[in-house]
Protein backbone atom coordinates (compact mmCIF):
# COMPACT_ATOMS: atom_id res chain seq x y z
CA UNK A 1 0.00 0.00 0.00
CA UNK A 2 1.49 3.32 -0.92
CA UNK A 3 0.54 6.93 -0.37
CA UNK A 4 -0.86 7.26 -3.84
CA UNK A 5 -3.29 4.38 -3.43
CA UNK A 6 -5.43 5.64 -0.60
CA UNK A 7 -8.10 3.09 0.36
CA UNK A 8 -11.76 3.87 0.49
CA UNK A 9 -12.92 5.42 3.75
CA UNK A 10 -14.65 2.25 4.84
CA UNK A 11 -11.27 0.50 4.76
CA UNK A 12 -9.55 3.04 6.95
CA UNK A 13 -8.69 2.53 10.59
CA UNK A 14 -8.00 5.39 12.99
CA UNK A 15 -4.51 5.08 14.43
CA UNK A 16 -3.95 8.54 15.93
CA UNK A 17 -6.74 10.93 16.82
CA UNK A 18 -6.47 14.71 16.50
CA UNK A 19 -5.24 15.14 20.07
CA UNK A 20 -2.44 12.64 19.51
CA UNK A 21 -1.42 14.16 16.20
CA UNK A 22 -1.42 17.64 17.72
CA UNK A 23 0.64 16.46 20.68
CA UNK A 24 3.09 14.71 18.37
CA UNK A 25 3.72 17.74 16.19
CA UNK A 26 3.93 20.16 19.11
CA UNK A 27 6.39 17.77 20.67
CA UNK A 28 8.36 17.48 17.42
CA UNK A 29 8.52 21.25 17.04
CA UNK A 30 9.91 21.65 20.56
CA UNK A 31 12.38 18.81 19.98
CA UNK A 32 13.72 20.48 16.86
CA UNK A 33 13.95 23.81 18.62
CA UNK A 34 15.91 22.13 21.42
CA UNK A 35 18.24 20.21 19.11
CA UNK A 36 19.01 23.19 16.89
CA UNK A 37 19.66 25.51 19.80
CA UNK A 38 21.73 22.82 21.52
CA UNK A 39 24.23 22.73 18.66
CA UNK A 40 25.79 26.18 19.19
CA UNK A 41 25.48 25.83 22.97
CA UNK A 42 27.33 22.50 22.97
CA UNK A 43 29.81 23.16 20.17
CA UNK A 44 30.25 26.85 21.02
CA UNK A 45 33.98 26.91 20.54
CA UNK A 46 33.65 25.76 16.92
CA UNK A 47 31.12 28.37 15.98
CA UNK A 48 33.33 31.27 15.10
CA UNK A 49 32.78 34.65 16.51
CA UNK A 50 29.24 35.88 16.50
CA UNK A 51 26.04 34.30 17.59
CA UNK A 52 23.44 35.60 19.99
CA UNK A 53 24.16 33.15 22.74
CA UNK A 54 21.79 34.63 25.27
CA UNK A 55 18.86 34.48 22.85
CA UNK A 56 19.71 30.89 21.94
CA UNK A 57 19.90 30.00 25.63
CA UNK A 58 16.49 31.50 26.26
CA UNK A 59 14.93 29.63 23.31
CA UNK A 60 16.51 26.41 24.57
CA UNK A 61 15.35 27.00 28.15
CA UNK A 62 11.74 27.83 27.27
CA UNK A 63 11.48 25.04 24.70
CA UNK A 64 12.71 22.65 27.36
CA UNK A 65 10.27 23.88 29.96
CA UNK A 66 7.43 23.59 27.44
CA UNK A 67 8.42 20.14 26.24
CA UNK A 68 6.33 18.08 28.70
CA UNK A 69 3.19 20.16 28.06
CA UNK A 70 1.93 18.56 24.81
CA UNK A 71 2.13 15.10 26.34
CA UNK A 72 0.59 16.13 29.66
CA UNK A 73 -2.22 18.08 28.02
CA UNK A 74 -2.95 15.24 25.61
CA UNK A 75 -3.13 12.74 28.48
CA UNK A 76 -5.40 14.59 30.88
CA UNK A 77 -9.01 15.51 30.37
CA UNK A 78 -11.79 13.90 28.41
CA UNK A 79 -9.97 14.42 25.10
CA UNK A 80 -7.06 12.21 26.21
CA UNK A 81 -8.76 8.82 26.04
CA UNK A 82 -6.93 7.54 22.97
CA UNK A 83 -3.63 8.83 24.30
CA UNK A 84 -4.13 7.13 27.67
CA UNK A 85 -5.13 3.97 25.88
CA UNK A 86 -1.91 4.01 23.87
CA UNK A 87 0.22 4.70 26.94
CA UNK A 88 -1.19 1.53 28.46
CA UNK A 89 -0.41 -0.39 25.29
CA UNK A 90 3.13 0.92 25.41
CA UNK A 91 3.49 0.01 29.08
CA UNK A 92 2.20 -3.55 28.96
CA UNK A 93 4.22 -6.12 27.03
CA UNK A 94 3.40 -9.75 26.42
CA UNK A 95 6.02 -12.46 26.89
CA UNK A 96 6.11 -12.74 23.09
CA UNK A 97 6.88 -9.06 22.76
CA UNK A 98 9.70 -9.26 25.28
CA UNK A 99 11.10 -12.26 23.41
CA UNK A 100 10.76 -10.43 20.08
CA UNK A 101 12.72 -7.47 21.47
CA UNK A 102 15.40 -9.73 22.99
CA UNK A 103 15.89 -11.48 19.65
CA UNK A 104 15.84 -8.09 17.88
CA UNK A 105 12.74 -8.92 15.87
CA UNK A 106 13.74 -12.40 14.75
CA UNK A 107 10.90 -14.24 16.49
CA UNK A 108 7.39 -14.22 15.10
CA UNK A 109 4.93 -11.88 16.70
CA UNK A 110 1.31 -10.95 16.31
CA UNK A 111 1.97 -7.29 16.74
CA UNK A 112 0.09 -4.92 18.99
CA UNK A 113 -0.84 -1.43 17.77
CA UNK A 114 2.86 -0.69 18.21
CA UNK A 115 5.60 -3.23 17.83
CA UNK A 116 8.08 -3.62 20.71
CA UNK A 117 10.67 -1.45 19.00
CA UNK A 118 8.15 1.37 18.67
CA UNK A 119 7.14 0.89 22.27
CA UNK A 120 10.73 1.05 23.44
CA UNK A 121 11.26 4.21 21.41
CA UNK A 122 8.24 5.83 23.03
CA UNK A 123 9.31 4.79 26.52
CA UNK A 124 12.83 6.08 25.98
CA UNK A 125 11.72 9.41 24.55
CA UNK A 126 9.22 9.80 27.38
CA UNK A 127 11.71 9.13 30.15
CA UNK A 128 14.34 11.25 28.40
CA UNK A 129 12.01 14.24 28.52
CA UNK A 130 11.84 13.84 32.30
CA UNK A 131 15.59 13.31 32.70
CA UNK A 132 16.45 16.25 30.43
CA UNK A 133 13.93 18.46 32.21
CA UNK A 134 15.30 17.69 35.66
CA UNK A 135 18.99 17.91 34.74
CA UNK A 136 18.36 20.98 32.60
CA UNK A 137 16.61 22.67 35.52
CA UNK A 138 19.61 21.78 37.70
CA UNK A 139 21.90 23.52 35.21
CA UNK A 140 19.68 26.58 35.01
CA UNK A 141 18.99 26.93 38.74
CA UNK A 142 22.29 25.47 39.90
CA UNK A 143 22.84 27.50 43.05
CA UNK A 144 20.96 25.18 45.40
CA UNK A 145 22.89 22.10 44.28
CA UNK A 146 26.37 20.99 45.39
CA UNK A 147 29.04 21.44 42.73
CA UNK A 148 29.57 17.69 42.06
CA UNK A 149 25.84 17.37 41.36
CA UNK A 150 26.04 20.24 38.88
CA UNK A 151 28.85 18.40 37.11
CA UNK A 152 26.86 15.17 37.25
CA UNK A 153 23.79 16.92 35.84
CA UNK A 154 25.91 18.32 33.01
CA UNK A 155 27.18 14.83 32.30
CA UNK A 156 23.71 13.25 32.29
CA UNK A 157 22.21 16.08 30.20
CA UNK A 158 24.96 15.60 27.61
CA UNK A 159 24.73 11.80 27.51
CA UNK A 160 20.96 11.85 27.14
CA UNK A 161 21.14 14.61 24.55
CA UNK A 162 23.33 12.41 22.37
CA UNK A 163 21.13 9.36 22.96
CA UNK A 164 17.90 11.22 22.21
CA UNK A 165 19.44 12.78 19.13
CA UNK A 166 20.25 9.37 17.62
CA UNK A 167 16.92 7.87 18.68
CA UNK A 168 15.02 10.74 17.05
CA UNK A 169 17.10 10.44 13.88
CA UNK A 170 16.27 6.71 13.87
CA UNK A 171 12.59 7.54 14.41
CA UNK A 172 12.62 9.90 11.43
CA UNK A 173 14.41 7.37 9.21
CA UNK A 174 11.89 4.68 10.13
CA UNK A 175 9.00 7.07 9.49
CA UNK A 176 10.29 8.09 6.07
CA UNK A 177 10.74 4.46 5.05
CA UNK A 178 7.29 3.36 6.25
CA UNK A 179 4.90 5.50 4.28
CA UNK A 180 1.63 4.05 5.54
CA UNK A 181 2.62 4.52 9.15
CA UNK A 182 3.93 7.98 8.29
CA UNK A 183 0.62 8.99 6.74
CA UNK A 184 -1.19 8.14 9.96
CA UNK A 185 0.64 10.85 11.91
CA UNK A 186 -0.56 13.39 9.34
CA UNK A 187 -4.04 12.12 8.56
CA UNK A 188 -4.73 9.82 11.47
CA UNK A 189 -5.68 6.64 9.64
CA UNK A 190 -4.04 3.52 8.27
CA UNK A 191 -5.60 1.07 5.85
CA UNK A 192 -7.25 -1.95 7.37
CA UNK A 193 -5.02 -4.24 5.31
CA UNK A 194 -1.93 -2.50 6.70
CA UNK A 195 -3.24 -2.86 10.25
CA UNK A 196 -4.08 -6.54 9.73
CA UNK A 197 -0.55 -7.12 8.57
CA UNK A 198 1.45 -4.99 11.00
CA UNK A 199 -0.85 -4.62 14.01
CA UNK A 200 -2.94 -7.78 13.95
CA UNK A 201 -3.53 -8.02 17.69
CA UNK A 202 -4.72 -4.44 17.83
CA UNK A 203 -7.24 -5.00 15.05
CA UNK A 204 -8.56 -8.11 16.78
CA UNK A 205 -8.88 -6.46 20.17
CA UNK A 206 -10.48 -3.18 19.30
CA UNK A 207 -14.17 -3.18 18.50
CA UNK A 208 -14.21 -2.25 14.86
CA UNK A 209 -16.74 0.54 15.40
CA UNK A 210 -14.23 2.54 17.37
CA UNK A 211 -11.69 2.39 14.63
CA UNK A 212 -13.77 3.93 11.89
CA UNK A 213 -12.70 7.37 10.89
Amino acid sequence: MSLTQAPAKSLRVLRFDRVQRGAHWANALLFFSLMFTAIPLYFGSFFGVVFPRHLIEMIHLWSGLALPLPIIISLIGPWGRAMRHDVRRINYWTREEIHWMRTLGKSTLEADKFNPGQKLNAIFVGVSILVMLVTGAMLQWFRIFPVPWRSGATFVHDVFAWAVFFVVIGHIVMALTHRDALRSIFKGWVSRSWAERYAARWIQEEPSGELKH
Binding site: L41, H54, R88, I90, W93, I123, A153, T154, F155, V156
Partner: protein, 242 residues
Amino acid sequence: MTIESQPDAPREPQITVNVGRRVFLGIVALGALGVAFGNSVQNFLGDAFGSGLGGLLPGGDRFRIYSITGNYPKITRDKYRLKVSGLVEHPTTFTLADLQSMPKTSFTKAFQCVTGWRVPDVHWEGVKLSEILDRVGVQSGAVAISFDSYDHADTESLSLDQAHLPDVIVAYSMLGAPVTIEHGGPVRLYVAPMFGYKSLKWLSGIRVVDVVEPGFWEQNGYPVNGWLDGTTGPNNPDPGLT
Protein backbone atom coordinates in the same frame (compact mmCIF):
# COMPACT_ATOMS: atom_id res chain seq x y z
CA MET B 1 1.88 5.02 36.14
CA THR B 2 -0.73 3.31 38.30
CA ILE B 3 -3.02 2.68 35.44
CA GLU B 4 -4.25 -0.84 36.07
CA SER B 5 -7.23 0.53 37.93
CA GLN B 6 -8.44 2.70 35.07
CA PRO B 7 -11.95 1.68 34.09
CA ASP B 8 -11.26 1.83 30.38
CA ALA B 9 -8.16 -0.35 30.53
CA PRO B 10 -7.97 -2.75 27.59
CA ARG B 11 -8.69 -6.39 28.24
CA GLU B 12 -5.43 -8.27 28.51
CA PRO B 13 -5.76 -11.56 26.71
CA GLN B 14 -2.23 -12.66 27.53
CA ILE B 15 0.13 -12.48 30.46
CA THR B 16 1.69 -9.06 30.34
CA VAL B 17 4.55 -7.31 32.04
CA ASN B 18 4.61 -3.57 32.61
CA VAL B 19 7.87 -3.19 30.75
CA GLY B 20 7.18 0.49 30.19
CA ARG B 21 7.12 1.32 33.87
CA ARG B 22 10.19 -0.80 34.57
CA VAL B 23 12.27 0.70 31.78
CA PHE B 24 11.03 4.17 32.70
CA LEU B 25 11.98 3.84 36.35
CA GLY B 26 15.24 2.10 35.47
CA ILE B 27 16.34 4.96 33.25
CA VAL B 28 15.25 7.53 35.84
CA ALA B 29 17.43 5.66 38.35
CA LEU B 30 20.34 5.68 35.89
CA GLY B 31 19.91 9.42 35.42
CA ALA B 32 19.89 9.99 39.17
CA LEU B 33 23.02 7.87 39.57
CA GLY B 34 24.64 9.86 36.80
CA VAL B 35 23.85 13.13 38.55
CA ALA B 36 25.13 11.83 41.88
CA PHE B 37 28.24 10.01 40.69
CA GLY B 38 28.92 11.17 37.11
CA ASN B 39 31.42 13.72 38.36
CA SER B 40 33.30 11.11 40.42
CA VAL B 41 33.33 8.65 37.53
CA GLN B 42 34.69 11.27 35.17
CA ASN B 43 37.35 12.33 37.65
CA PHE B 44 38.30 8.70 38.30
CA LEU B 45 38.58 7.89 34.60
CA GLY B 46 40.49 11.10 34.01
CA ASP B 47 42.94 10.30 36.82
CA ALA B 48 43.28 6.62 35.93
CA PHE B 49 43.59 6.88 32.17
CA GLY B 50 44.47 10.50 31.54
CA SER B 51 42.18 13.18 30.27
CA GLY B 52 41.92 11.50 26.88
CA LEU B 53 39.45 8.90 28.03
CA GLY B 54 37.68 11.33 30.32
CA GLY B 55 37.28 13.52 27.27
CA LEU B 56 35.55 10.75 25.36
CA LEU B 57 32.68 10.91 27.80
CA PRO B 58 30.18 13.59 26.97
CA GLY B 59 30.25 16.41 29.46
CA GLY B 60 33.90 16.14 30.30
CA ASP B 61 36.74 18.03 28.75
CA ARG B 62 34.60 20.48 26.88
CA PHE B 63 34.51 24.22 27.28
CA ARG B 64 31.13 25.90 26.99
CA ILE B 65 31.90 29.28 25.53
CA TYR B 66 30.09 32.11 27.28
CA SER B 67 30.05 35.75 26.33
CA ILE B 68 28.08 38.43 28.14
CA THR B 69 27.68 40.60 25.08
CA GLY B 70 26.98 37.76 22.66
CA ASN B 71 30.09 38.86 20.83
CA TYR B 72 33.84 38.44 21.06
CA PRO B 73 35.96 41.59 21.11
CA LYS B 74 38.58 41.30 18.38
CA ILE B 75 42.00 42.46 19.49
CA THR B 76 45.05 41.53 17.49
CA ARG B 77 48.12 40.43 19.35
CA ASP B 78 50.04 43.49 18.07
CA LYS B 79 47.39 45.94 19.24
CA TYR B 80 46.87 44.31 22.61
CA ARG B 81 47.48 46.57 25.60
CA LEU B 82 47.08 45.91 29.33
CA LYS B 83 46.64 49.13 31.25
CA VAL B 84 47.57 48.97 34.94
CA SER B 85 46.40 51.99 36.91
CA GLY B 86 44.94 53.17 40.19
CA LEU B 87 46.80 53.12 43.48
CA VAL B 88 50.17 52.23 41.96
CA GLU B 89 53.57 53.89 41.99
CA HIS B 90 54.14 53.53 38.25
CA PRO B 91 51.01 53.32 36.08
CA THR B 92 52.08 51.16 33.18
CA THR B 93 50.65 49.91 29.90
CA PHE B 94 51.96 46.48 28.94
CA THR B 95 52.10 45.07 25.45
CA LEU B 96 51.83 41.34 24.87
CA ALA B 97 55.59 41.25 24.28
CA ASP B 98 56.12 43.03 27.60
CA LEU B 99 54.13 40.35 29.39
CA GLN B 100 55.93 37.56 27.58
CA SER B 101 59.31 38.98 28.56
CA MET B 102 58.40 38.80 32.24
CA PRO B 103 59.07 35.67 34.37
CA LYS B 104 56.85 32.93 33.06
CA THR B 105 54.56 30.73 35.15
CA SER B 106 52.91 27.62 33.82
CA PHE B 107 50.88 24.82 35.35
CA THR B 108 48.12 22.37 34.53
CA LYS B 109 44.85 22.86 36.35
CA ALA B 110 41.17 22.27 35.75
CA PHE B 111 38.72 24.92 34.67
CA GLN B 112 35.60 24.58 36.80
CA CYS B 113 32.46 26.47 35.84
CA VAL B 114 30.05 27.42 38.59
CA THR B 115 27.21 25.86 36.56
CA GLY B 116 28.85 22.45 36.72
CA TRP B 117 30.94 21.73 33.66
CA ARG B 118 34.60 21.15 34.21
CA VAL B 119 37.57 20.76 31.91
CA PRO B 120 40.39 18.83 33.57
CA ASP B 121 44.09 19.19 32.86
CA VAL B 122 44.15 22.54 31.11
CA HIS B 123 47.66 23.85 30.55
CA TRP B 124 48.01 27.51 31.46
CA GLU B 125 50.91 29.86 30.88
CA GLY B 126 51.40 33.51 31.72
CA VAL B 127 52.61 35.95 34.31
CA LYS B 128 51.69 35.83 37.96
CA LEU B 129 49.42 38.73 38.79
CA SER B 130 51.64 39.39 41.82
CA GLU B 131 54.58 39.80 39.45
CA ILE B 132 52.77 42.58 37.60
CA LEU B 133 51.70 44.21 40.87
CA ASP B 134 55.30 44.14 42.13
CA ARG B 135 56.44 45.69 38.85
CA VAL B 136 54.08 48.67 39.12
CA GLY B 137 54.34 49.04 42.90
CA VAL B 138 51.16 48.92 44.97
CA GLN B 139 50.56 51.97 47.14
CA SER B 140 49.63 51.71 50.79
CA GLY B 141 45.90 51.99 51.23
CA ALA B 142 45.25 49.61 48.34
CA VAL B 143 42.77 46.88 49.26
CA ALA B 144 41.63 45.22 46.10
CA ILE B 145 42.07 44.86 42.35
CA SER B 146 39.42 45.53 39.74
CA PHE B 147 39.66 44.02 36.28
CA ASP B 148 38.19 45.29 33.05
CA SER B 149 37.53 43.50 29.79
CA TYR B 150 37.75 44.52 26.18
CA ASP B 151 34.12 43.48 25.89
CA HIS B 152 33.23 46.59 27.95
CA ALA B 153 30.75 44.46 29.90
CA ASP B 154 32.54 42.03 32.17
CA THR B 155 34.32 43.20 35.27
CA GLU B 156 35.93 41.26 38.08
CA SER B 157 37.57 41.84 41.41
CA LEU B 158 40.01 40.20 43.77
CA SER B 159 41.21 41.24 47.20
CA LEU B 160 44.89 42.17 47.35
CA ASP B 161 45.60 38.93 49.25
CA GLN B 162 43.80 36.84 46.64
CA ALA B 163 45.66 38.65 43.87
CA HIS B 164 48.96 37.52 45.37
CA LEU B 165 48.10 33.80 45.28
CA PRO B 166 50.66 31.96 43.15
CA ASP B 167 48.03 30.38 40.88
CA VAL B 168 46.38 33.65 39.93
CA ILE B 169 47.89 34.56 36.58
CA VAL B 170 47.52 36.84 33.61
CA ALA B 171 47.47 34.13 30.95
CA TYR B 172 48.57 34.47 27.34
CA SER B 173 48.77 30.76 26.60
CA MET B 174 46.20 28.06 27.23
CA LEU B 175 45.83 24.45 26.09
CA GLY B 176 49.38 24.65 24.71
CA ALA B 177 48.73 27.54 22.32
CA PRO B 178 48.11 31.28 22.45
CA VAL B 179 44.76 31.98 24.10
CA THR B 180 42.15 31.97 21.34
CA ILE B 181 39.58 34.71 20.99
CA GLU B 182 36.70 32.58 22.28
CA HIS B 183 38.71 31.66 25.35
CA GLY B 184 39.40 35.35 26.04
CA GLY B 185 42.56 35.92 24.04
CA PRO B 186 45.03 37.37 23.47
CA VAL B 187 45.24 37.77 27.27
CA ARG B 188 42.87 36.66 30.01
CA LEU B 189 42.84 36.24 33.74
CA TYR B 190 43.02 32.75 35.26
CA VAL B 191 42.11 32.45 38.94
CA ALA B 192 42.76 28.78 39.59
CA PRO B 193 41.24 28.44 43.09
CA MET B 194 37.94 30.01 42.06
CA PHE B 195 35.06 29.28 39.70
CA GLY B 196 35.49 30.18 36.06
CA TYR B 197 33.49 33.41 36.17
CA LYS B 198 36.36 34.95 38.15
CA SER B 199 38.78 34.25 35.26
CA LEU B 200 37.83 37.31 33.25
CA LYS B 201 38.31 37.10 29.50
CA TRP B 202 39.82 39.70 27.13
CA LEU B 203 41.62 41.43 30.01
CA SER B 204 42.09 45.12 29.20
CA GLY B 205 42.74 46.81 32.50
CA ILE B 206 43.93 46.21 36.04
CA ARG B 207 42.96 48.90 38.54
CA VAL B 208 44.34 48.87 42.07
CA VAL B 209 41.59 50.26 44.30
CA ASP B 210 40.76 50.85 47.95
CA VAL B 211 37.52 48.86 48.04
CA VAL B 212 36.35 45.54 46.55
CA GLU B 213 34.11 46.40 43.60
CA PRO B 214 31.82 43.42 42.91
CA GLY B 215 32.14 42.46 39.25
CA PHE B 216 29.54 41.73 36.61
CA TRP B 217 28.68 38.22 37.78
CA GLU B 218 28.76 39.23 41.44
CA GLN B 219 26.22 41.94 40.65
CA ASN B 220 24.14 39.14 39.15
CA GLY B 221 24.18 37.11 42.32
CA TYR B 222 27.38 35.06 42.29
CA PRO B 223 29.62 35.16 45.37
CA VAL B 224 32.35 37.78 45.25
CA ASN B 225 34.70 35.11 46.55
CA GLY B 226 34.17 32.29 44.10
CA TRP B 227 36.23 29.69 45.95
CA LEU B 228 35.86 26.28 44.42
CA ASP B 229 35.30 24.70 47.83
CA GLY B 230 32.58 27.24 48.59
CA THR B 231 34.22 28.52 51.76
CA THR B 232 33.69 32.05 52.93
CA GLY B 233 35.27 31.63 56.36
CA PRO B 234 37.36 34.18 58.26
CA ASN B 235 40.39 33.47 56.09
CA ASN B 236 38.30 33.87 52.97
CA PRO B 237 36.09 36.78 53.90
CA ASP B 238 33.48 37.61 51.33
CA PRO B 239 32.91 41.34 51.55
CA GLY B 240 30.27 41.17 48.87
CA LEU B 241 27.91 38.85 50.71
CA THR B 242 25.36 40.60 52.84
